[in-house]
Symmetry: D2
Subunit: 357 residues, 4 copies
């Protein structure tokens, strides 16, 4: 049985590169030979034991690669084709999927809904920080990479760009909106780019790290508020003449940013939340206008499926957004433990790393 290298969760604090068998290909699956992948903030949560997964699981949910083998029932692809798949790999046939709620895919449950059920790679099935990954429900998930795009150009599509853009989309941004984006890590930066792409005309990014502040401008921010120097709620109120923003996007996952996101909203505004929170959240009575402010709070888990991937790659191919600057460091799969070390501690101005087997 042929074997491959894979980054495996051993126990909290330990993800190691080890060998495991190359998986068998079921009728609806596709086996992908990974050419480039990356590490996500969520993977670091897993590493730290903050998000529990099974021991022995291969980590990683952002695959770029080549079709090695197709399942017997898979139609519409050919081996050797260059593809990506989303971090979320919906089945397409659950009640949740048929309602368009692919991330909460409940395939296999009686009623068809399962919390975060669409997130399988590196969560409930082996992921893609490996030489090969098995893509389930391949016909719903494999998206061919357009000619002329490099691996690194599309590397943000499976998760970072899909999640970041969804922050803007779930905020229902309209032409002429004023938008605040809290935190300018990779996802926040893509939320900023997404807000720009949807026609927001005043985009206020909140960040404290100089390199990220600079990158925020590059991705489309009109104003960058340095939260280490001023209270962002006050600053945003000032920048909007006391009106507040139409939409605020939370891209960090902390009480402080969640609360600030709510406080800067105009009445009737929308808080679009992308953060993964690690404790109960508090909604301040005044920021919420005691429940009388016609507010909307909406959370979004990374949209997936091949059509989503196609659209995101179109954004890249059309030149509307360029996410290459987000890739600040490069490693071989053999060096992945080193990559976790750098990325997990946010050293050396890292935004995203590219891992190539």
């Amino acid at each position: 049985m042929p074997r491959m290298k894979a980054a495996i969760f051993v126990e909290p604090g330990r993800i190691v590169l080890d060998e495991k068998p190359i998986p068998d290909v079921g009728p609806l699956d596709a086996l992908i030979r990974i050419t480039t992948t990356t590490i996500c903030g969520t993977d670091v949560h897993i590493l730290k034991g903050e998000y529990p997964v099974a021991r022995g699981l291969t980590i990683g949910h952002e695959p770029v690669g080549i079709i090695e083998k197709l399942g017997s029932a898979v139609r519409g692809y050919r081996e050797g084709q260059r593809v990506i798949a989303g971090a979320i790999t919906p089945s397409g046939h659950s009640a949740a999927c048929l309602c368009g709620c692919h991330s909460q895919d409940g395939a296999g449950t009686t009623h068809g809904w399962k919390p975060m059920g669409g997130w399988r790679f590196g969560n409930t099935v082996d992921g893609c920080q490996a030489e090969f990954v098995l893509v389930p429900d391949a016909m719903a998930n494999l998206a061919p990479v357009p000619d002329g795009l490099t691996d690194e150009q599309v590397l943000m599509c499976p998760d970072i760009m899909s999640t970041g853009f969804s922050g803007a989309e779930s905020g229902r941004i309209r032409i002429g909106d004023t938008v605040a984006v809290f935190a300018q890590g990779p996802i926040g930066l893509c939320a900023t780019a997404g807000a720009r792409l949807m026609g927001a005309t005043t985009i206020i990014a909140v960040e404290g790290v100089p390199e990220r502040m600079e990158m925020a401008r590059r991705m489309g921010a009109d104003h960058v508020v340095d939260f280490t120097k001023a209270d962002p709620v006050d600053e945003i109120r000032r920048l909007t003449d006391g009106r507040g923003v139409d939409v605020s996007i939370e891209a960090l996952g902390r009480q402080q940013t969640f609360e600030a996101s709510l406080r800067v909203l105009r009445p009737g505004g929308t808080l679009s939340s992308l953060g993964v929170y690690s404790g109960d959240l508090r909604i301040p009575l005044d920021g919420f206008l005691a429940g009388l402010g016609d507010h909307t709070i909406r959370t979004t888990l990374c949209p997936g499926g091949k059509e989503r991937m196609r659209r995101l790659m179109e954004v890249i191919a059309s030149g509307r957004v360029d996410t290459r600057p987000l890739v600040t460091h490069r490693f071989k799969l053999d060096q992945i433990e080193e990559a976790y070390e750098l990325f997990g501690h946010q050293r050396d101005g890292v935004l995203k790393v590219a891992i190539t087997p």
Copy 2:
């Protein structure tokens, strides 16, 4: 090879009951033993040669039955289970499906979109006026029938009710709307019921056949305009004090009703079209306000998939709508040619027939 009886399209003007092999079950299919089915207006178009299908095809797209055999890759069902499937049987994995546009499913095409591609039964694959039908992509399409509901109670779900309700849904009816529904055949009657179900407070049905006018009231119409006695556009203008309706639903498929549906709209209103048209349509300049009326015209092909079916059966199970009165005649499968004769000529006050093998 075991054989079964099936209503087969031979040539324009001839649908006959004949024998053909019971189909083999592929990995994603389910074989259903039909217990009740019906004839649709579309089937009559096929019979007349107005809608072309392959010779030898089994007709029919409204199945109620029992799972006889499941494909090797199908999970979540058991043989012997009582189910329905929609007239539209989406794959779940095409670009169209992933966009929520199941009826235009392009599974098998390069780009994933195909006009009416979700309509397969009795159109591009064998249908269900037979002893058995093969349901493709079974996991996306089989909907278990709740205990306590009879075959006839759910017989309208696969097409008539799904299509009729979609007329109201695509019209985005809101609480307090005034709605006109043109024609009160089975689909128009369900559109009337759907408008009622969504909170329209003035529902004006247009019809000329006394039994259907009576049935329109039973399904929720507040006013019934007899088009044989008065001009419906004038009548509706009068009933709405010159304002027009918020939403009009076209449920016949003729120039005259399409045009009237547009003329009765208030500015900013929506024409929700369910009709299958047989020629070019004309939009009258004045009814369209020269393109300056903020009008919406939306067409809808019967929504399908198991979740849609589940919801419609919930409507029945909750007692909100009762479609049993629509079944006016009953036939054995052996008598199906007789049933086509009656239904095709709209004899004897027929609304819908029930066919039982």
Copy 3:
């Protein structure tokens, strides 16, 4: 200067009937002679000093009456006409109004947005627990009462029905939805009726008072969960086979019901909040799926304006909903202190009172 009787806020704990001048009529105003009004839960908050208003203000925001005098610039009405106005009286011309967010009307501010700015009666201008009330921006707010409807039939339209229905509307209820409504006071009961009106097929009301439980069934609930006997979260999970509800409506304004409303949601579901909260709210991490559940939380302040009122009166006139059973007690304006005493302490099974000058 002619004087009138009015219920006036004196200080926390004291609302008294006193005399004040009948107001002058500005160019855009209308003076209404009140024929029937009522007391709202919010008025009790004011009475208790929990919601601060100016001393000397006339309380009340639910007027039914007759046009006594029209401002010089008001067109389209005549004196003697029977009308209602909503609890929220938008100007129509602020940025908020032009965006359709009438309740947050910021007329008079630089940028056009003001938290709860559309709520003027008994909050920032004199209200309608009086012999006369001045309706500002009359052309946007006066809604003629259709012939044949009594005062008590339309008495719930200005606030209770508008707010209750908005719970269902902001939840974007669709045909076939399962909906939970927490608390069956007057607003919760109207939320139940609204859910029914929009096509929900399983409506689960949560309440503990027997009369309200009974009324919940009458307004359309399919199941009523007695929270004094069982944990409503467990019960709703059980009733939905573990799936949860598509939409939950919070109609009380407490941490406990807010939290339960979130916990009973399926992934991707919507919490529609109507409650007026009196402290910070806590979002439980698990109920919120750590921010990854594709949830929506939406708050709504009573929609107002004459078109809203017209639509609600259409609901009454069409017989779709009958809110008369909500009026359990009747008082003369002279007895209003007694009415506050009864209503404020929820004595004698009171739901709503009718006050007639």
Copy 4:
């Protein structure tokens, strides 16, 4: 009584510069001293007698100017302030306005809806090709021009940009969409810019005039199809690999472009129509998929009101779109007949003219 110069419709074929009294200012009005205005294609229709208006009416609906005098009831502005108003000047208080359908404002009618009722300037009241214009319902319509923007920078906001962008907005363009825009006159060019602003990644403009083709690229088109050299339907099918476009925008008002707009749609796509048609339209059966294609056809009349104007000026101020290149010729008000001559015959590569009193 002081008099002013104004471009007056005398009879079909004759718009002349003449004198008329400066109008009196009613309580809700504002008198604006025009500093810059322009001529619209609609004005040419009026000139030719194709769109009937009253003889003696001042033409023009695109005002930039300075507040000369405010009505007695107008609050929130000061004389001397620089403002624009939209071509559509909603009252804010009709049923249509309260429903957000400002262009169909029925202020003054019983039921509150009037076809195109929001279009008053140069249609039902005196317009702005004059030294002064009276803005009705000033509080809903006057939008202060941000400091630093010139008259010509905001001159397209009242109509051209508002209409053009609405073509993209009514098409509900999403990130990654493929969009076709038929005709690249001023409105089509703004539709192209709007599609870009909303995140379309493939924008195909159809035009035959070289200067306009060039301008289309400048405004954001990715492809420009020269309809004089190839059939645009074929070309667009080819460019989209047979899939068709998600949204097509009709910006000319002819049968040919309307029909082509429909034929290039993918199933489930939206035709967003901006054209003013001059005869009945024909919907081709095949392009409409016989009514089974889940298509949407939506028409939009220029959105107006001060909030719309504010948002459009934000687009300009933020540098997202620059419409200055659309102003190709400049005239004094005294030369307006000459300007009509040039613009009406589309001479000298004219796109838009600027008129300054």
